[in-house]
Subunit: 148 residues, 2 copies
DNA sequence: TATTGTTATACTCTATAACTATA
DNA sequence: TATAGTTATAGAGTATAACAATA
């Protein structure tokens, strides 16, 4: 019964395979780093803030291809967890700059120590050459390209 | 200023690149097929239903790796749009089977006609060999593998 | 006038738990 | 007892529009 499902061309569609891969890595990541309570996006945001402590919210939102309004919510969640702090920019009173707290640095460090192993485990079906190829192809796809 | 953002290892992480790719194709798909009002997932669900009109909701949910409760909501949205119908199974009074309406078939047809062009446009940075390679690698990653 | 961040609003997707009808 | 589907609840993520403060 379960085996009689017809898939048609489902497996040929990038949209479907990318979505499946993204859901899988989301689950894998949150399970692997369960103690931190962070999602892949929250980790990425925390990581970029730690590298750019003087950057304002709009710039951070741009980096993560997210609207200002939605991105403010993401930052609010990180702030509620005590992982970042926000304060007014010294040079522009409209802007806020975020910085990672000591607790945030600790969480970040734990993920950075484990992330390579986590990603290798996630891509356990691939050998090293395939792993590098997949990452390179994803980067290439994600590069901005001319509108058709 | 915008250019001084430090990315660190962000571009090395599968989690970040898969998430970016999935967001990009979601935007591209919904823009390309704006007149249908469907998301990639809704299209995939509609497509699988059209191929498997006698399959119940639990089986459909399994195909799409979604919990029964959440999947019921997805079907409810398709039903509200008049693209599918649900009726009780003849063989199991607990179960429901979904089928695509005439309107649903029309929407599905429009997407299926354009999907190859849409996916080629989305992967405009890749040549044919790279495109096939990317899809093959995604399929391989998405294959179930042993727990470590 | 334009920009930064916020608030309000809305929709999709995800999950868990408890419920009902049936098997 | 177990299963199919629903409802209730919660949270993350996404987006648009309107607003106050500032540039």
């Amino acid at each position: 019964m379960e085996n009689s499902i017809k898939w048609g061309r489902t497996r040929d569609f990038f949209a479907a395979q990318l979505r499946a891969a993204q859901m899988n890595i989301y689950s894998h990541f949150t399970e692997w780093f369960d103690d931190t309570g962070l999602s892949p996006k929250q980790f990425a945001v925390l990581y970029v803030i730690s590298l750019n402590p003087e950057v304002n919210q709009r710039q951070l939102a741009n980096v993560h291809s997210t609207e200002r309004a939605a991105f403010g919510e993401t930052l609010a969640r990180l702030e509620e967890k005590g992982l970042i702090e926000r304060k007014a920019s010294k040079t522009d009173k409209r802007a806020k700059v975020a910085s990672v707290t000591a607790k945030g640095e600790d969480v970040l460090k734990r993920i950075l120590i484990g992330i390579d192993e986590q990603e290798r485990a996630f891509t356990a079906n691939l050998n090293d050459a395939e792993r590098h190829m997949l990452l390179a192809l994803l980067l290439k796809v994600n590069m901005p390209h001319r509108e058709s």
